[in-house]
């Protein structure tokens, strides 16, 4: 067992660290490593790539356990302490295991005034958990989010750092939960500009879903 200082959320307590992932699991594939190398070349020093690498690691392992942060630091070529400092600075990096689907309900500003808390309470009741908790089957975590930059669609939520679900109603939430439980992916929702509705009869993009199926590689050439 490796002894590593770790935190229990408040950033202060030190406890004995038991890694969750085995050494066999803790590797990046050749493809992933190649991608990491590309990212590293996009910044004057490799340090700039750490956020992308942490993102990749979180997508792969589900959350950033200390040993996952260590792996990310090593792959990037920066000290563990520095990567740890970055990982703990941002809310979207999960430091603890969460549900399979993390529902970030915006209760900020516009969403508050348009029923964001009602949506949160509806979810709490429906899933039988409180904000910040995970259902016992590990399917859902509910959290409160700060403004997600989609106040035109208030109230809204984000699913696991990905899709936005706009203009929420209880019916829409029911449908969303069913779809997520069935393992279906949610459709991307475009918010129509009101002026577009008047001038060109609605939605201007014809390829939104298709575009989101493709993943473009990081393109820039080495800088400096």
């Amino acid at each position: 067992m490796i002894e590593l200082p770790t935190t229990s959320g408040d950033g202060h307590t030190s406890e004995t660290f038991v890694p969750v992932f085995s050494n066999e699991e803790l590797v990046f594939t050749t493809d992933e490593t190649a991608q990491i190398e590309r990212w590293k070349s996009h910044y004057p020093t490799v340090d700039g790539a750490i956020m992308r690498v942490l993102w990749l690691a979180q997508e792969k392992f589900g959350y950033l356990a200390p040993e996952v942060i260590r792996l990310s630091a090593e792959a990037t070529g920066i000290p563990y302490a520095k990567a740890y400092g970055v990982a703990t600075f941002y809310t979207q990096y999960f430091k603890k295991k969460k549900g399979k689907h993390v529902l970030d309900v915006c209760t900020c500003f516009t969403c508050q005034l348009c029923g964001g808390y009602d949506i949160l309470h509806y979810l709490e009741e429906k899933l039988g958990i409180k904000s910040g908790e995970t259902t016992s089957d590990g399917e859902f975590t509910i959290q409160q989010a700060e403004c997600l930059g989609a106040c035109d669609a208030a109230p809204m939520l984000q699913v696991t750092n990905g899709r936005y679900v706009m203009q929420l109603t209880p019916e829409k939430i029911d449908a969303m939960l069913d779809a997520l439980r069935d393992g279906k992916s949610l459709e991307f929702e475009s918010m129509t500009l009101p002026q577009d509705a008047d001038e060109m009869g609605g939605n201007r993009r014809s390829d939104t879903q298709a575009v989101l199926e493709t993943k473009a590689p990081p393109i820039a050439e080495t800088i400096l």
Binding site: W55, L148, C151, S190, L193, M200, P218
Partner: protein
């Protein structure tokens, strides 16, 4: 339809205004469609013609009167001219600020979705003007889907030779790097954004030195908002004079208004600056929902001071008019509140936001934002006292202008002005003190 001009020859009439930042063209987000509609002509023009030196591009932007759309409204051309003289040994950078986290602001998201190439072309033109070889496009991590959207278009840009080495066959080269954030409001603050890019904890830096002297990795850097840069191609195509003739004289140009809250038609609207707030609410955004009356607005994101319904008559959405009315333009993301809104609860949620987002570097901000939240929460629960209201104002004074970055000010303003302008509603929640004089509570 030709845009109508007013008596002084300015384009201020919103009804006849034709959009340029988000023109009504289907699938404009695609490179081919953007090009068919005159896209990348401005870039081609400056690259091909010897006439269009970098200095001339900067001058054109200065002439346009464009002021930054990220919140502070700083003149863009002037900011560009702060860059030191070119030294071939020293790399130079553009950072495009797409962190868009100020509550009530969502215009950059719509721009990324519907007209990303105007941004890419603007970034390239800005790089040309300040001789930068690399542009970092910092997008908040929550916009994951929009990052995917623009990565697809950026790949096309590289394929076509409009980004990367020797753009359009010239000796001008720019690498565009999209940087994905991970959820921190403070990263919108320019020096915090630079630390975030550098792989540091995203603490704001003490200024000076300013980014133009010492920016990312210590190199000269210019930081502009997404909407600011997306306006550059229009300025080059239609001329700085045209841009300067749109909207309010001292804060000109087309602007993306994001109207949200209790209106019938929330959304992003492109109109000249200086539109009457009443027009924006009642004529553009369809008026208040459910036939209710207006209570108040917050004109440009959560940090801009709230205006009561009786304070907006004749007030226009531009820096000067809003300043006179006692507020600010901010990001032009306007929140509309109906008569039923609980102002105390609303302010409590704002104080929570700033407390949550304070990076904790400066004591007045780290402690002050917590105190603001605690006291306003106490008032919301009906457990506060009259003197808490003065305590709040006092706290704001202790926070304003005493910190590394402007987040502390941004947290203090809404408290100061909401308490001042809705004092009766706060007092109605206060409990009279039952404690005799001389005993501290």
């Amino acid at each position: 339809m030709e845009a109508k001009k007013d008596n002084s020859g300015r384009i201020t009439d919103w009804r006849s205004y034709e959009r340029v930042l988000l023109p009504s063209i289907k699938d404009l987000h695609r490179l081919d469609v953007y090009e068919e509609n005159g896209g990348y002509q401005a870039l081609r023009k400056v690259l091909v013609s010897d006439d269009w030196t970098p200095a001339k591009v900067t001058d054109e932007v200065k002439a346009s009167g464009l002021r930054g759309r990220g919140g502070a409204g700083f003149p863009t051309g002037l900011k560009w001219s702060f860059m030191p003289p070119v030294d071939p040994e020293v790399p130079r950078f553009i950072c495009c600020n797409g962190d868009e986290s100020e509550p009530g602001t969502f215009k950059d998201r719509q721009l990324l979705e519907y007209n990303p190439h105007s941004l890419f072309e603007g970034i390239l033109l800005a790089c040309y003007a300040i001789s930068a070889g690399t542009a970092f496009l910092y997008i908040r991590g929550e916009f994951a889907d929009w990052i995917t959207h623009i990565e697809v278009e950026l790949a096309k840009l590289y394929e076509k030779g409009y980004a990367g080495k020797n753009i359009m066959g010239s000796d001008f080269s720019v690498e565009i790097v999209i940087h994905k954030g991970a959820g921190a409001y403070i990263c919108g603050e320019e020096s915090s954004l630079m630390n975030s890019l550098e792989g540091e904890r995203a603490y704001p830096r003490v200024k000076p030195p300013f980014p133009a002297q010492k920016g990312v990795w210590g190199y000269p850097t210019t930081i502009n908002n997404v909407e600011t840069l997306a306006a550059i191609p229009t300025i080059l195509n239609k001329g700085g004079d045209w841009f300067a003739s749109v909207g309010a004289e001292r804060h000109p140009g087309p602007v993306l208004y994001g109207v949200s809250g209790h209106v019938n038609r929330p959304g992003v609207y492109e109109y000249p600056t200086g539109i009457l707030i009443t027009d924006l609410i009642y004529k553009v955004a369809g008026g208040i929902r459910n036939g209710k009356k207006l209570k108040a607005i917050v004109p440009g994101g959560s940090s801009t001071p709230i205006l009561r319904a009786d304070m907006i008559e004749g007030v226009r959405m531009d820096a000067e008019s809003l300043k006179e009315a006692g507020s600010m333009m901010g990001t032009a993301g306007m929140l509309v509140m109906d008569e039923d809104t609980d102002i105390v609860g609303f302010l409590r949620r704002i104080t929570h936001f700033y407390h949550h987002e304070s990076c904790g570097q400066c004591t007045p901000c780290r402690e002050g934002t917590g105190w603001l939240e605690d006291i306003v929460s106490r008032l919301e629960r009906g457990e506060g006292h009259y003197r808490d209201l003065d305590l709040l104002t006092d706290l704001c004074t202790q926070m304003e202008g005493r910190t590394v970055c402007a987040l502390a000010d941004a947290a203090a303003w809404p408290v100061r002005y909401t308490v001042e302008r809705f004092r009766d509603e706060f007092e109605a929640r206060c409990r009279p003190s039952l404690v005799p004089a001389g005993i501290s509570i």
